[in-house]
Symmetry: C2
DNA sequence: AGGCTAATGACAGCCACTGACAATTGACAA
DNA sequence: TTGTCAATTGTCAGTGGCTGTCATTAGCCT
């Protein structure tokens, strides 16, 4: 990698970190693109040559994570049942995610940004849309594993939708809760996934009384 | 309702219809607020006095629908099991929705706008965020019906998340498919909801072979 | 060293949206 | 009916995100 490319990567990383740092401290809406550019001492125009928009900086790390989850699902043993494959793919990709993220951004900063995403309407909306796209991908992989046509058989999209729903509920709880560790997330996720059966089961009240 | 109020409602309705008409024909991104204001012959500033933003016009009808669904769930007989209550609330509120919408906007226009929402990234994102908020409300109602604390017991949020996932998959299929009738939607929804059990069931492949 | 190409900055402009102030128009009492 | 008050609207100016254009700079390669 020659000087030119090294310089480019340095500028991009600097912009990324400056942006996330500002988002985490000052808030997303309160940070202007000019602020970010100024923090790295480049022109605003240059910022837009590295990122398609302010939003893209906020989702740089999540995008990485998604890639790894997709990859993890693709390499799951084909004998696993769909829900099981999804569960394990997610749970086991977190270590890889963690590793990849640290290269780019202090993990603690990412966590703070994650809370900003969940609490900023514009970012939450973008996050949900991205999740929907991820789910579409995952459904495709599941269908392939099972030898099905995604458009003919509704089950792949349904499981993934169910799974995604649980993940999102979990994410929100985790991001607003106190325990911001990886293991905390893992634990929450397994607990919640185990609730899918009971939640669908007919009468909750009947189960409560002995 | 005096002249002043009548005039206001007329302006708002005109803006709303003009906006939706433009979105449906020209596309959302391609229509500017100035276009909408010009179509009704008011200033751009006036548009923003009636709607918080361009987006709000696109979601005016969906907002109405959401209100009616929430209401429908609230009046469901308390002996129904959660998933059943949700299903019936949604299926049975469509008539009421249909009725309320026609007052405001030709139903055919609404359907065209709905497709624009699903196919415009910015609007899809907003739509998903609104859905998440709706789900939070529904979870609260379910918890109340069952005498539970939403934050202590995960099941209300889980069922609603599952349910919402299925609805969204259905919506997308419906909006891109050919049959844009109410009954088509109803039928698709019931079919898909009936797939939740099978989709969660362990081994799809085993079930396929006799 | 010098020409080539990619990266950057400076500038102008579009669009969504907001605050401020003045002009207009309906409401209501005298 | 008219005059006053309050609500509605238009105009203007400004901010922030984002894009196109063009000249300048800086690394690359022979």
């Amino acid at each position: 990698m020659n000087l030119r490319e090294r310089k480019k990567r340095r500028t991009r990383d600097a912009l990324l970190r400056a942006a996330l740092e500002l988002f985490a401290t000052r808030g997303y809406e309160e940070t202007t693109v000019d602020d970010i550019a100024a923090a790295v001492d480049v022109s605003q125009r240059t910022f837009f040559r590295y990122f398609a928009g302010k939003e893209e900086t906020a989702f740089f790390v999540p995008r990485l994570a998604e890639t790894l989850v997709v990859e993890a699902l693709r390499t799951r043993p084909p004998d696993e049942v769909p829900l099981e494959a999804l569960r394990r793919a997610v749970l086991e990709s977190w270590d890889a995610i963690n590793e990849a993220v640290v290269e780019l951004v202090p993990i603690e900063l990412h966590l703070r940004v994650y809370r900003v995403i969940e609490s900023t309407p514009a970012l939450l909306a973008a996050h949900l849309r991205r999740s929907a796209e991820l789910e579409e991908q995952l459904a495709g992989i599941i269908a392939e594993r099972e030898g099905l046509d995604v458009d003919a058989d509704p089950r792949p999209r349904i499981v993934v939708a169910l799974f995604g729903g649980v993940i999102r509920v979990t994410e929100r709880l985790w991001s607003t809760g106190g325990d911001l560790t990886l293991d905390g997330m893992r634990e929450l996720t397994t607990t919640y996934l185990d609730q899918v059966g009971p939640a669908l089961a007919g009468n909750w009240r009947a189960e409560q009384s002995p």
